[in-house]
Symmetry: C2
Subunit: 212 residues, 2 copies
DNA sequence: GGAGAAATTATTCAAGCGTATAATAACGTT
DNA sequence: AACGTTATTATACGCTTGAATAATTTCTCC
């Protein structure tokens, strides 16, 4: 009996592939089904290799969570331009592909459900998400200042909580039942709602369309 | 060696205890850790008994999800009184204990992450949650009509989507980091925000406090 | 083009999994 | 107070799990 042939991959590439296979496995089979053997199958390697790159299964799961958080937040963190454009793009990015889809939600939920179980995951979670509302709060402060509105600390905090909740909730609805909404319907609702919450126009008469 | 003593419980009570133990196990150890043996320990029985009441482990998990959904939605479904009171109570119930806490989120997330895996769970999910936004939409229609506001179908739909999202998001924030918010802060923000979204006062000058 | 390093495969192991079945203790009925 | 029913325990089985180790192939470097 002959062994299967293989090729030696650069460490970074192999680690990336293994983490990708981990995320795929969790999305498709849940955390219960994301076994080292299943992950190995998706990555096209044998199970033993995983332990060569990660100290334990828990470690690769934690790495995968880190990667997921980065992927869900990186684009929103990169918005540029004047405050109005940044706020607008922030909204669109978070409510359209690839951030808003069923796979993202399945992955996010799988990890969230484990936060109370694995302290390491809890740490990664805090680190990743705490900055998110802060960034939105900053975005809002800039925007309100530009519009000459009251940008007091208390108001910014309350607005950030509400708008963050609105976006989270719309993201959730889009992920859970995206087929129930027309293209960019959630984005329109988000913009209209945020305008109402802040009492100021946003993206009215903009060149850029609301949808992606 | 002598067997452990036990008492024969009525079927309904035993099933209830087993499901409760299942939810406890999932909340504490995640779906991975909710094994039949772990559930049995929490219920104070031996593992074999579970199969006496449930055809398989999957069945008790599904039953547990059904119970959880019922528990998360039953109180909100029971609101009574005039439209303004009902809407107000609906908000409070969904943003305070026992609906909003870390355990509820952990359980909810665990099941949501499995919806793509287990079609039976997906069916339970749809059945349970589809009515939720419909009920809110109805609540809003009644409220707007009472207030003499535009209660057209399109407006109600958009408002229901936005307010549902807002409440979901605030629920999420409260569950994830309840300690970051002062007592009833989320409720106040919800009421203020919903007033802004609808352009009409809600619960202003009410006897009942905003907090629970 | 051979040697050495190490990435990868193959195999093994103990523990834990869901499930099946047999033994038994509890309880209502008479 | 013995009986029959059955809820419950106890035990066992076959599989899968994460992990450890041994065997081997690939690739770089000289």
């Amino acid at each position: 009996m002959t062994r299967r042939t293989f090729h030696r991959a650069p460490e970074a590439e192999r680690r990336h592939d293994l983490i990708e296979a981990t995320l795929d496995s969790i999305a498709e089979f849940g955390l219960r089904g994301a076994t080292v053997r299943q992950i190995a199958i998706k990555a096209g390697v044998t199970a033993g290799l995983i332990r060569h790159y990660f100290a334990s299964k828990d470690h690769i799961i934690q790495e995968a969570y880190r990667v997921l958080i980065g992927r869900l937040t990186e684009k929103a963190r990169r918005v540029t331009g004047d405050p109005e454009t940044r706020l607008h793009d922030f909204i669109v990015i978070n409510l359209t592909e690839p951030v808003a889809n069923g796979r993202s939600l399945a992955l996010w939920a799988a990890f969230i459900s484990q936060v109370n179980v694995d302290p390491a995951l809890a740490a990664i979670h805090r680190e990743g998400y705490l900055g998110f509302r802060d960034e939105l709060e900053e975005l809002l402060a800039d925007f309100l200042a530009e519009k000459g509105q009251d940008a007091s600390k208390d108001r910014c905090r309350a607005l950030a909580i509400a708008i963050n909740a609105l976006l989270d909730g719309l993201w959730l609805e889009g992920c859970l039942a995206g087929e129930l909404f027309e293209e960019s319907e959630l984005v329109s609702i988000a913009i209209t709602s945020i305008e109402a919450l802040m009492g100021v126009g946003l993206a009215a008469g903009r060149r850029k369309k609301a949808g992606r």
